[in-house]
């Protein structure tokens, strides 16, 4: 086994939220069909860096391992994506791993995406179904519309679109593309539409829709192929109508 193949990895590490980041190189044995997570697991099994020194195991987040939870997102060779679906065979070496620095880094490659969940709360990205009595079934949705809405519902709050957006950064309070598109999803829902006006108001609050600068990176970066820029433009149209209605109209509820 003299000519055993190896994988070179350069990982940006950080010991705790406020620590200085540093780089560490690893060289791990190659196996067929590895993804970035199985490579990271190899480092965890045997935490020795490329210089042969013993080190702490690299920390990262993961959940589903099939690109539906979004927890494992990180910047791989400069591009934010899910590490569970990033195949080593398709990556240029050395493989560079960095955390998505748009978010607070907790440790090594793990980040805190709370801000996205806060934004979803801000824009009321849910369908209210609670009442003091059984509200019964909601109105039906046309199948064609359901299929269209399904595409928008695939968002896993992974944060890749925020990482790709030049307007989401520490100098701005833009909530980013993902929560915007969710407003479109919930406004389209027959029961969700009851809260359309409230959602639009929240959407146009500081850091909302208007902070989009149309760089359109998000739609290229989204692993789920969500038509983010179409959602944004559609919401822009809705916002135009909404603001006219609430300025000139007197009995405007929806």
């Amino acid at each position: 086994m003299a000519d055993q193949k190896t994988i070179k990895m350069i990982i940006q590490r950080q010991d705790e939220p406020n620590a200085q980041p540093y780089e560490e190189e690893f060289e791990i044995p190659y196996r067929k069909n590895m993804n970035v997570i199985s490579a990271l697991m190899e480092i965890r099994r045997n935490p020795v860096n490329a210089k042969g020194e013993k080190t702490t195991p690299v920390y990262w987040d993961m959940g589903c391992l099939e690109e539906v939870c979004g927890a494992c997102s990180m910047v791989i060779n400069g591009k934010a994506q899910q590490s569970c679906t990033a195949l080593i065979d398709q990556l240029e070496q050395p493989v560079r791993l960095e955390p998505m620095k748009t978010f607070p880094v907790m440790r090594d490659l793990a980040v805190d995406r709370s801000r996205m969940f806060d934004s979803l709360k801000q824009v009321k990205a849910w369908v209210p179904i609670d009442g003091t009595y059984d509200l019964g079934e909601g109105p039906r949705m046309a199948e064609s519309k359901r299929q269209w809405a399904y595409e928008l519902s695939k968002c896993m709050t992974c944060g890749v679109c925020l990482e790709a957006c030049p307007n989401v950064n520490s100098k701005s309070d833009f909530i980013g593309p993902a929560p915007l598109s969710q407003v479109r999803l919930f406004n389209a829902h027959p029961t969700g539409a009851y809260h359309k006006a409230e959602r639009m108001d929240a959407l146009l609050d500081d850091g909302g829709l208007q902070d989009c600068g149309n760089s359109q990176n998000c739609v290229q970066a989204c692993p789920k192929g969500i038509p983010l820029t179409t959602s944004i433009a559609a919401l822009n149209r809705e916002a135009t109508v909404h603001s006219f209605k609430s300025f000139f109209g007197s009995d405007y509820h929806n």
């Binding site: 790709a164 108001d201 208007q210 149309n214 760089s215 944004i232 433009a233 822009n236 135009t240």
Partner: protein, 204 residues
């Protein structure tokens, strides 16, 4: 909409960029283009514009005040972005970056241009006519400064027109946005041609 101040400012910024500033820019380039016919034609066209009623009022309402808001708020917008074309080198991301760069260049250019052709005129009483522009542009440095300034301004307007249509929700689908990219490219080419022809007519 009183509470959503940022939304209001952003939309106002977008609107002012097209009406009146964009309209003024087009008008300005068309009037100046008379310089390519003859110095007299230019002087006549310029004097017609100068003779418009309530000129000072028009200049403030249509040019200075909207431009000041657009410029100050625009600089703020430009500096809240963290550009990343090296990692995400997509066409629109480049346009996003260029929009901000040309905005800053245009601002510097316009400040100089207004000083030279309006304030100096108001203070020293220099007459604004073909000869004045010909003198300014006979210096190669000023000529290239004007070339860069004019191209930046036109690019900023053409690409800004594209964002205007998206910002107001007129072009929603990717297809309509793409068609608009070509349309605004056309705007850019036509006005750049006019602007360059004018500068050359003044200088040579």
């Amino acid at each position: 909409m009183a509470e959503n101040r940022e939304f209001f400012n952003r939309r106002l910024h977008s609107l002012l960029g097209v009406v009146p500033i964009g309209l003024f820019l087009m008008q300005h380039l068309v009037v100046n283009h008379f310089a390519t016919y003859s110095p007299e034609a230019f002087n006549q066209a310029a004097h017609f514009m100068e003779g418009l009623p309530l000129r000072i009022f028009l200049e403030f309402a249509v040019i200075y005040i909207p431009l000041l808001f657009h410029a100050i708020y625009g600089v703020y917008i430009a500096f809240t972005a963290k550009n990343n074309v090296s990692r995400y080198g997509f066409f629109r991301n480049w346009m996003f970056l260029l929009q901000r760069i040309t905005g800053i260049i245009t601002l510097i250019f316009i400040v100089w241009h207004v000083w030279e052709t309006r304030l100096a005129y108001a203070i020293y009483g220099t007459e604004v006519n073909f000869d004045m522009m010909a003198t300014i542009l006979s210096s190669p440095f000023m000529f290239w400064f004007y070339v860069i300034g004019v191209i930046s301004a036109i690019f900023h307007f053409a690409n800004g027109l594209w964002s205007f249509f998206v910002t107001w929700g007129i072009t929603v689908t990717p297809r309509s946005q793409k068609v608009l990219t070509y349309a605004t490219l056309g705007v850019f080419i036509i006005f750049t041609y006019m602007g360059m022809a004018t500068l050359i007519a003044f200088a040579y």
